[in-house]
């Protein structure tokens, strides 16, 4: 290492520490700002605040669209993770373990949704849903199913990436050892392979949930009355008013996602997987 982080303070060491501090500041400043402004008493944000209050939390609670949005978002995010993770895991197994031509193509194809801008993908899906509604003669856009299907398109690439990584790092000798001890292929998968993939799968479930829970660009064209997700509800609110209510809602959102990550980290060390 050309830069030592221990020992005598040197110019290099100070420089590195400063850069790290700046990086953290850039990452966390907006989050901190949102949380702080949610407690400001006045409507127009200015410094220093004349007083602190919880009125914006009360205001958010009084607006039914936020609570309904939260419920819709949680529902969609749970379903997305529940559907996308098994599909993505199966695809990852096929990509890493399968022996068929075009595995590389399949792999890139499955990651493609991440490369398309959300609004573009959302418009495409909107048009597709309109056509599909004609064919199947039932509502698809503005339904929970339609939203879940769209979000699943993003859950799959996340899952494929994370599970492929965990499969590639898996010691196949452990599977051979299990076979050697008398386990048939199905038992090997259930008792050895699957538990060893668990960190990747848990992380994939968490990321699938979060990306769905926070998704705005893909969802914005696909929501409908009564089926509005929390991020879309926030955007709608912003069209008419700018006040710290949104900061209060965002704070709740941040706390929920933060809690999820903390809980997940208790089961799987995220820093080891991602």
């Amino acid at each position: 290492m050309f830069l030592r982080l221990t020992g005598q303070p040197s110019l290099g060491r100070v420089l590195v520490r400063t850069m790290i501090a700046v990086a953290y500041l850039i990452i966390f400043a907006p989050v901190v700002m949102i949380v702080v402004t949610s407690f400001f008493a006045q409507e127009i944000i200015s410094f220093p605040p004349p007083a602190l209050s919880l009125r914006w939390y009360a205001n958010a609670w009084d607006k039914p669209e936020f609570l309904r949005g939260l419920v819709t978002s949680l529902e969609v995010a749970l379903l997305t993770a529940a559907i996308g993770v098994p599909i993505g895991t199966a695809a990852a197994l096929a990509i890493v373990r399968g022996e068929f031509p075009g595995r590389g193509v399949l792999s890139s194809f499955l990651l493609a949704p991440l490369a398309v801008p959300g609004v573009v993908a959302g418009s495409g899906l909107y048009m597709f849903y309109v056509m599909a509604e004609d064919v199947f003669d039932r509502d698809i856009k503005a339904t929970t199913e339609g939203l879940v299907a769209a979000h699943t398109l993003l859950a799959i690439p996340w899952t494929v990436r994370l599970v492929v990584a965990s499969l590639q790092g898996l010691d196949r000798r452990a599977e051979e050892a299990a076979a050697n001890l008398g386990a048939n292929p199905f038992t090997v998968f259930r008792r050895i392979t699957l538990p060893m993939m668990r960190p990747g799968i848990v992380a994939a479930a968490m990321f699938s949930f979060i990306q769905s829970f926070e998704n705005l660009d893909l969802s914005i064209l696909l929501v409908g009355p009564g089926r509005i997700t929390l991020p879309v509800a926030m955007l709608n609110y912003l069209e008419f008013r700018i006040d710290p209510t949104l900061a209060a809602v965002a704070t709740v959102q941040i706390i929920l996602v933060g809690l999820l990550m903390v809980v997940t980290d208790r089961f799987v060390k995220l820093s080891r997987v991602v």
Partner: protein
Amino acid sequence: MSQLSIEKLSKRFGASVAVDELDLAVREGELVALLGPSGCGKTTTLRMVAGFLPPSSGRVLFDAEDVTRLPAYKRATGMVFQSYALFPHMSAADNVGFGLEMRGLNATERRKRVEDALRLVRLSHLAERLPRQLSGGQQQRVALARALVINPRIFLLDEPLSNLDAKLRAEVRLEIRSLQQRLGLTTLMVTHDREEALTMADRLVVMESGRVRQIGTPRELYDAPADAFVADFVGRCNILAGRRASETQFRTDSGLVLPVDTVANECKDASAFALRPERITLRAGGADGIEGRLRAVTYMGAQTEYVVALGAESVVVVQPTPGAGEPLAALKPDDIVSLHWDRKAPRLVPQVSP
């Protein structure tokens, strides 16, 4: 325990031949080591015996039973992997109990057998630890217990010591060998380490390019190698190219004439003179014997290694390190020395086997 027979076993990967018509029998209770450089086919052979790789042709038999088409999980071999391959999410006891569980033993019986197996490898106190909470040597012993607890028909060892440090290696080597002998395990071991092979095996199989070069006891292979490759692979060896000049002489390509008892060496197409470094006696000064000039002296503790130039050739001699005051102790590079050996010590061997 069973006897293991391998008959004309071959494995081809596309155009390349990994194992070429291998024949081998491991007797009940015997430890046979496959020894060879990487890529010689020894690991491929072991994996075919375990059932992880289907052979291209040939047969594998446990006693009289042909297991060639039997999947790995029905073969009842016990294998110790180079990386140990412990199940990372299971405790040491659960790792050891896995094979018993697969055999349908109930929990009570299982616990008893697991306890016995862990006691055998002296790990009873660590039964509840996860593999990552164990040292390399302890993981190795869990892997041993896991393979032994199922009473395997054939015991398989894949480079079992290569991940241990030198001191531990000597210890585990003895431990495995004594377990193997005590339990009478029919064992096939793969190694590239000649010391490991020489010290542990009843018989060695030296392999190269998928073929067997020689099969024999460690002593047979060390003292009477079939060709220059085996001579060099089972231990350090001076190998000088040339041909037999008379009943008592070998002439090297560079014109040296070396004494040898060719009657003791019945190899007809001898094209190399093979002599172990420790079979040569070194004397200071150019008295009788083969005269040479000392090039280098390397002190190695109990032994000292001398490199001696004989004309264009160069010969390594290993002698017990001389005490201070002995004539050899004063030797330094460029001194004239003489080499002596018993005429029966050198082997005349073909450079490469036909």
